[in-house]
Symmetry: D2
Subunit: 238 residues, 4 copies
């Protein structure tokens, strides 16, 4: 059983009618309903309950953390962001969705500003598979077609990805590295670009398939504190 | 003075009126005229003269080799392809343009089929800079706009590039990793996707700027046979 | 059930008494006996039977190919080496052991000479884990200690590995990137440095554990010919 | 003229007789004297003057920052560490020496704990070149021999380096990725392991050559704030 925790800031859905219509219970509940299954169990956390629901205990008991945030990035306590970074370094998997490119834990893990260009014009997007044998692309075919998405464009100031799985192209002409894999310490990280709050992206079957694939991919097989020990003799066992 | 050698198979330009109109003297001469300058000297080679003009001596005396080929890939002698690969491994720079993704030396250096999808519909292309501080992107701005290009699309079966500098998007919707950097042995390699024979791509100022930037980037600073010596004592100098 | 095929050139063991003593039935049989289990089934091939035992059919039916070769690299037919390369590109996993750094298929897949420095002085080796959460390092601890190994040293002329799992250090002072991961096309490749024919390296429990781990890691989850199709419309399904 | 700023915490040299003997004026002055030349100008900063000498103005006017720190990592103000990270992201080069693997700005840029194993036994070290054509290895030959160094060993919890230039081996048997290149945003980063305060490592000619090479390599060719602009139309110029 894979233990997934979904953090969604859950602000847009309460404030904006256009978002409430798409995700009446919040993005976290939409994702939870889509992901939970015989081998995936899901907890959720939101801005209001972040200290309890992303406590050290919850993170230590989480296999893969999924993060959606946008207008409330600053309200995430620094100590939660740092705790997420440390838990990834120990081995927890992490999936950052859409505007989470600017979330505190993602920026801490990348060491770069993670900026990009953007437009809100309701462009359509094609999310192309550029690495068809990557486990995260399994079952997706050549591309995902989204009728409407927020336009994100290069340059996206991230470290060169370990593996690039998707590239998005928008009807306005922009392109974006849309599916990026990293390893930091013992943990695997996946950034996935689609998922604007005003569009039903997380109801698209292929988008859910990608996120599910990423959960299986990011699940830790090894989890341990990284240490910096003084050894007494060269070949001492630790 | 940087010594550039341009190989162009020079077949389309002689056979097809539509190509002859764009490049009456051949792609190699168009590139030669555009690149040669106070610090770049240019030689050329074509299918008919490949054995002499890409001889071991010429390759050894070449800083950066530029390669354009398409319908005559098979007519390149295996020993020339192998000699190019070996010279790159020693330190010669190499720039592969457009359909040279399927040239013998590029495939030898990549170890992959280098396949992609393609359409010939006269799409327009935007070549986006995704790594603005890379020396090959210097002076390009956000993108290059080409009114017409052959459409190349992912999946492009290459090894994960060491650095990705450009991503192309086509008016039909396809995307393509359009500027890819590799190091193999001591040599630097740049693959650049634009350059279909029926369009005046190599007359575009920004395209020429990219190729010139790539010449400076790929120029060897160190050139030596890679060897596999038996050493007599651990710290023997070689 | 994972289908493993082991190719061992099987020449040293028949010609040299010192090798025969260590591997009386050949390295391939020692490895076969060590690897076969409830979920791994093993076939073998040697120089004499290579055309039949590494036929296109066998390769297409192999999940992971293990390769040991040294003095008979040249006797491997070019078409077998090319067929191995192509099958890896389609998705077959491949593990190259020790002197297989100079085997034809490894060099074809790398695009580099794969040279290194070497000494045969019976040094001891420590194979250090530098990526403890990589699945190939599972269960190994800090290092593997080998009483005697052939000394291999840098510079090892390979492309920068996608992931470096082990670094070897020898009692004479040399170092060597000893466990290197690559992906080429759909296939995963692991190079592992230990395994000289005169030492019982392949009887070491941890060495066998690494190779077994690598079999699980390299096993294909997706296998398909990489193609280069002309598409008729941008979003055509292939 | 390349503008180098050297930060040295300058604590050991004042407190410990054994260090004072080796670097009576401090590591920063030893490095300054060794590096300054016709085309390199050097400023220095220490713990006591860090706010002025690593002010925003100084950083903005620095081409390459060199950092040595150990026991006083915590005394570096968070805002200075963050300012260094941001300036690297804009394009400033950065060289982190020895125990600076645990400095605040290096950890911010890596996103990992940067832990390692260590012993203080006066081992000798061989720093092997594994990428002989990398500009940072120019003129070094096969290796650097240091009579005494602090022993640093794997696992070193860093992101997979973009390029690995050196691997160190110690007389006790440990190995360490000793020269690691990264790009983060527009800036180049080099980590170099040798340089313990009690040994005259920074008086070794080859060590100085490596640091000088790294200064030339890390010098920015492009420097700009990375931004996250909303664009009004797809192809708007920024």
């Amino acid at each position: 059983m894979i233990k997934v925790t979904i953090f969604n800031e859950f602000v847009h859905e309460k404030k904006e009618e256009s978002v409430k219509k798409v995700y009446p219970e919040g993005i976290h509940i939409a994702l939870k309903n889509a992901l939970q299954s015989d081998d995936i169990t899901v907890r959720t956390a939101t801005t209001e309950t972040i200290k309890e629901d992303l406590s050290a205990e919850v993170l230590a008991d989480t296999d893969v953390l999924i993060w959606w945030g946008h207008m409330a990035h600053e309200s995430v306590p620094d100590e939660v962001a740092t705790a997420v970074m440390r838990e990834v370094q120990k081995g927890m998997g992490a999936i950052f969705l859409h505007s989470a490119h600017h979330s505190k834990p993602f920026k801490l893990l990348m060491g770069t500003p993670c900026n990009l260009t953007w437009r809100e014009d309701g462009d359509s997007e094609l999310v192309w598979v550029c690495n068809p044998s990557h486990p995260i692309a399994e079952g997706i075919g050549r591309f995902i077609h989204l009728e409407h998405e927020e336009t994100y464009g290069e340059p996206f100031s991230i470290p060169e990805p370990d593996e690039l799985v998707f590239i998005g192209s928008f009807s306005g002409g922009e392109v974006m590295r849309a599916g990026c894999c990293y390893k930091r310490g013992n943990g695997k990280i996946f950034y996935f670009q689609p998922g604007h709050e005003t569009f039903p992206t997380f109801k698209d079957e292929k988008i859910i398939k990608v996120i599910k694939n990423a959960v299986y991919w990011a699940k830790p097989t090894y989890r341990a504190e990284l240490i910096c020990p003084q050894v007494k003799k060269p070949l001492e066992d630790l």
